[in-house]
């Protein structure tokens, strides 16, 4: 197999808190190939966004990182500031969750869209404007040329999210990180944006890291999906198989917790509440909430192991595989 575009190797992250460092991510491993869409799902605070930020090295002051992020075989964690800027402006783009907060409110949308091209690539301003208009029209923004002269506050959230997507696509990155790009949008706009991202990926062959807490959405867009819990990846496999035959009890529990449109079953909730990595027990992070836990789960933290179709971090994975499949089956109704 070819070298992947992105490889995260045993990535660990600590963030400074009062009186020390709090662990945020532990042993995050996954790869994304060119043209592939990889989904990262998990509850709030499970470390999805922090993983994305590590890739672009957008970390708060005092953060400590071990492990490695390899983009085309080059570690982004050890790049010089100049090289890091080059990578950011050409290879990796991030679409953020809340476009209104992430676009400078006092600058025109046109400036926001074309500034990278003009300043980092030396493209002429009117050429950049033309390309911005083209992209906006491709992604279904009407009256694109007048939009360029408008300010963010003159636009709706859905439109702004498109602007942000356009800005990310304009620089033609290799990897597009979409950090819950549809959370701030209503359902119809959400569908548009998702379709748009999918089109762009197919047309341009860019790799997509899609972060969401919506399992269905991840399944609809992504080839493979990783599930995160308390700063660790507990399971990675193809999106279709993830739904049919989850390997980790947490994934199965998430699937069972969804309301069904067809079946008259009450969703099964996961007891307890999600923990931060810092508060997680010594063994498996999910053990206290897990219906299948036994004494081994509390001894040491399981690592993500390759096994047939996907990888899973669970010591009992083999023993409970059939039970989990039943849970997923009944959840589908």
């Amino acid at each position: 197999m070819k070298d992947p575009l992105l490889r995260l190797q045993e990535l660990c992250l600590w963030l400074p808190v009062k009186g020390g460092l709090a662990p945020i991510l532990e042993d995050v491993n996954f790869t994304i190939h060119r043209g592939e869409a990889f989904g990262l799902v998990g509850e709030s605070g499970s470390g999805k966004s922090m993983t994305a930020r590590c890739i672009s090295r957008l970390l708060p002051r005092g953060a400590k990182v071990t492990g490695d992020v390899l983009l085309e075989g080059v570690s982004t964690l050890s790049l010089t500031p100049r090289d890091l800027r080059a990578v950011r402006s050409s290879k990796v783009q991030i679409i953020f969750q809340d476009p209104r907060a992430h676009i400078n409110p006092v600058r025109r949308v046109g400036d926001y869209l074309t500034e990278v091209l003009v300043t980092e690539r030396g493209v002429e301003q009117d050429v950049a404007n033309r390309r911005a208009i083209e992209i906006l029209e491709t992604i279904g923004v009407t009256a694109a040329s007048t939009r360029l002269a408008q300010y963010p506050h003159e636009m709706s959230g859905g439109l702004l999210q498109r602007i942000m997507i356009a800005a990310a696509l304009l620089v033609e990155p290799e990897l597009l990180i979409a950090d819950e790009p549809t959370t701030a949008l209503d359902v119809t706009t959400q569908a548009d944006v998702v379709a748009l991202l999918d089109d762009m990926r197919r047309d341009r062959g860019l790799a997509l890291l899609f972060i969401t807490h919506d399992l269905e959405l991840a399944a609809a867009i992504c080839d493979r999906t990783g599930v995160m819990y308390a700063g660790t990846i507990v399971e990675v496999q193809t999106s279709a198989m993830l739904h049919q035959r989850p390997l980790h009890p947490y994934t199965a529990a998430l699937l069972a917790a969804r309301p069904s449109l067809t079946a008259q079953v009450r969703p099964v909730t996961i007891s307890g509440s999600p923990v931060a990595l810092a508060d997680a027990p010594a063994g498996c992070t999910f053990a206290p909430r897990c219906a299948y836990q036994d004494s081994r789960c509390r001894l040491e933290r399981p690592t993500l192991r390759e096994g047939g179709v996907g990888s899973v971090a669970c010591v009992r994975a083999h023993e409970i595989a059939s039970q989990l499949a039943v849970v997923a089956e009944s959840a589908r109704g």
């Binding site: 672009s56 957008l58 002051r61 500031p81 890091l84 800027r85 080059a86 990578v87 950011r88 402006s89 050409s90 990796v92 783009q93 991030i94 953020f96 809340d98 907060a101 992430h102 676009i103 400078n104 409110p105 006092v106 600058r107 025109r108 046109g110 500034e115 990278v116 300043t119 980092e120 404007n129 040329s145 007048t146 360029l148 002269a149 800005a167």
Partner: protein, 287 residues
Amino acid sequence: MTVGLASRRATTARVRRSFAGGDWISRACVGFLVLVVLGAVLAPLLAPYGPNQINLAAAYQGLSSQHLLGTDDLGRDIFSRLLYGARLPLLGAGLIDGIATALGLAVATTAAWVGGWLDAVVSRTLDVLFAFPGLLLAILAVALFGPGFVAPVIALAIAYTPYMARLIRSVAIRERSKPYIDACSVQGWSGAWICVRHLLPNLLPFVVVQATVSFGYALIDLASLSFLGLGVQPPAADWGLMISEGEPGILAHHPAEALFPGLMIILTVTALVTFGERRGALRSRLR
């Protein structure tokens, strides 16, 4: 093209709104300030007499059609001197304010951006500077470099910098932590570029309000120095100097020479501070 046209129209509309949108008090303040500036700039055209045209035969005259505001002990026309006398204070206060704002912006934005030990060092240095009253610093400068226009202006500019810097730093730290700055970093721009192109424009509204108010204070401090004889020297026409030269006149029942420049200082500063504070209040309401 259409883009340029639309944007220009939007800009003029915004400018119009920011001036006409205020209440009548703000508009009156702006109107008065415009008059003062026009009077100072056009003094050679407007003044009926030269500022230093002595006519001992016409000393201490009251208000009349020849001398609108009367004359001083040397028979100089007070109205003419009032027009000319606005030039140095306005220029000086403008310089003080401009230098202090520029220095404050540079220092505060750098401190807020880099953070860590640099921010700590800058903040403590500002604290030390706060301990010195501006006037004291100015008097020190005069003692070192002699009275005049330049020394007090530079000293006051340095004395005003901490006030600008501390305010801007607090706003800049808040803005710096906003997500759009992160989004800028991800675009691959350098810190300096993000500061100048993205952070600064978001600080300007606060800076403008603070600069308006401190312009008024600078005007008072300059006038105080002139009054104490440490600023510009006679026979120059200058409001603060006119007040001190008018002192004997007050005792001789001819208060005009001290009264009118005093009034002008009060009115100008009041107009500046009122306008500045109303702009600030408007801003915070809009937010």
